[in-house]
């Protein structure tokens, strides 16, 4: 934003809600990373930590919501200030959802134990998680730096995350068809993959908020939807 407000307390308010939102972003990044590490290593202790620390993310969201309410009531923000406030509110709720996905992944940590023989599956999941973690980090950086190119890039990369998810879905389906004993763990694994994929969608939303903050409008949604698992399912059954 350009120069400061004549009323400097207004600047302090805006800085505070933004820094709280970014702190939330940091917690979510850690949660997602730890949830994936816990899964890979079968580290139940780390998984338990992810599950318990989700409370801190929820609390921050509530705190941000109250602060935003106060800023709107007392400062009547307009134009760029209003977009700052609205984007912080939206991003906080998006991050809260991402925290829930990480917690949900942590809850299912035990399953990879049963799937350890499938190293390709493991690798695919790790690759997807890495793509999504970077998307999340870059989306938050794009917000801080008001970096439109970086935000656009995050939106582009959601395509990659969707593709990995689609191939993982296909792989899981094959496993289940070949060996019904894998159905239970495969279902869990599918939920995990879906959670990661959803975090990717949310990282895209965060990047869109960064664009909205600067330009006042959202990028046009002309990307084709990349979740083609409904098609895959029919293909697999028929073919």
């Amino acid at each position: 934003m350009n120069s400061g407000h004549i009323l400097s307390a207004f600047d302090t308010d805006l800085e505070r809600i933004q820094s709280h939102m970014l702190r939330m972003g940091g917690l979510v990044e850690t949660a997602l990373h730890d949830a994936m590490t816990a899964l890979e290593k079968g580290d139940l202790e780390l998984a338990a930590k992810v599950r318990s620390e989700d409370q801190a993310i929820d609390d921050l969201e509530e705190e941000i919501r109250q602060e935003v309410e106060r800023v709107i009531a007392l400062r009547s923000p307009t134009a760029g200030d209003l977009r700052t406030v609205l984007s912080v509110l939206t991003m906080a709720s998006t991050l809260e959802r991402c925290g829930d996905y990480a917690r949900n992944m942590a809850k299912r940590t035990f399953v990879l134990e049963e799937f350890r023989y499938s190293s390709t599956l493991n690798g695919t999941l790790r690759r997807m998680s890495r793509v999504v973690e970077t998307m999340l980090t870059d989306a938050l950086d794009a917000y801080v730096d008001r970096d439109m190119a970086k935000a656009e890039d995050v939106i582009e990369r959601d395509f990659e995350a969707d593709q990995i998810y689609n191939s993982l879905f296909r792989e899981l389906l094959t496993h289940m068809m070949e060996d019904p004993r894998t159905i239970a763990p495969a279902m869990h694994l599918h939920f995990i993959a879906k959670n990661i994929e959803r975090v990717g969608d949310h990282a895209t939303n965060l990047a869109e908020q960064a664009i909205y903050l600067v330009t006042g409008s959202f990028p046009s949604d002309d990307r084709p939807k990349q979740d083609v698992t409904t098609v895959n399912l029919t293909e697999l059954r028929d073919g």
Binding site: N2, H5, A79, G216
Partner: protein
């Protein structure tokens, strides 16, 4: 989306208006189209020329000897600075409420009846009383003054005096109403009543309001003009000005970064 203002002919058109007070230029090349049946708000820091521009529209600047106005201003396509235009007649068509309440040293009744009388708007006393009551009611003052219409207007409180001036301005049924910070001396209730009146009046004619309250401009107007240092910086739909202003000076002003 196109608004009615963009498609219909403007009520007032100003082209390349310059205003000087002696050697000091107060307005620089201002051009603007003011729509009919809508509220247009003028905003901007103190001294930027809002009142000066408002006074051009009904030739009030003629009464300031050192003031010189150039450029074209038309009302319904007619040049208001044409030598054949009678400024008194023009001011009945283009009413004005000033920044400071200025009731005449006459009774409340006579203050409101003044315009209708000189313009012969009533055929008898009963009709005149009707006009006065209606104007006072619409200015949200009737209940407070109905029992003392013959007492001096100057004996009212500041906020009541302002509403009296509004009643006086609307009693002649103007086509355009210019209001220079009409609510600056009013409490929140009277302010809300005047804002309601402004909405109501704008269904029939063009209202131009100067205000220092961003919230008021946002609440009452459809179009907003932002003035800065004697220049018209930005003029557009109020929704856009308060959400996505295109000039960085407008944004700085409405978000409270420049005074």
């Amino acid at each position: 989306m196109e608004t009615a203002a963009e498609t219909a002919a403007p009520k007032i058109t100003a082209k390349n208006v310059d205003v000087f007070y002696a050697d000091t230029q107060a307005l620089h090349n201002v051009s603007v189209d003011i729509p009919d049946r809508q509220v247009t708000a003028f905003i901007g820091p103190s001294g930027c020329g809002k009142s000066t521009f408002l006074r051009c529209i009904n030739r009030m600047n003629d009464t300031i000897p050192i003031c010189r106005v150039s450029g074209d201003i038309t009302l319904d396509g007619q040049d208001i600075y044409d030598p054949n235009v009678d400024p008194v007649q023009l001011r009945a068509q283009v009413g004005m409420v000033f920044q400071k309440p200025n009731p005449f040293p006459k009774s409340i009744f006579d203050n409101v009846a003044y315009g209708p009388r000189i313009h012969g708007l009533s055929k008898d006393r009963a009709e005149l009383e009707g006009i006065v009551e209606k104007a006072l009611r619409r200015a949200a003052l009737w209940d407070e003054v109905k029992d003392r219409l013959d007492t001096p207007g100057t004996g009212l409180s500041g906020g009541q005096q302002q509403r009296l001036c509004i009643a006086r301005a609307i009693a002649t049924r103007p086509e355009v109403l210019l209001m220079d910070e009409p609510c600056s001396a009013l409490d929140p209730i009277a302010t809300a009543q005047i804002e309601e009146l402004i909405q109501d009046l704008s269904s029939r004619f063009s209202v131009v309001i100067v205000t220092h309250s961003m919230q008021q401009a946002a609440r009452v107007s459809q179009r907003t003009a932002f003035f800065h240092l004697g220049n018209l910086v930005e003029f557009g739909n109020t929704d856009d000005i308060f959400t996505r202003p295109s000039d960085s000076r407008t944004e700085a002003y409405i978000t409270g970064r420049i005074g």
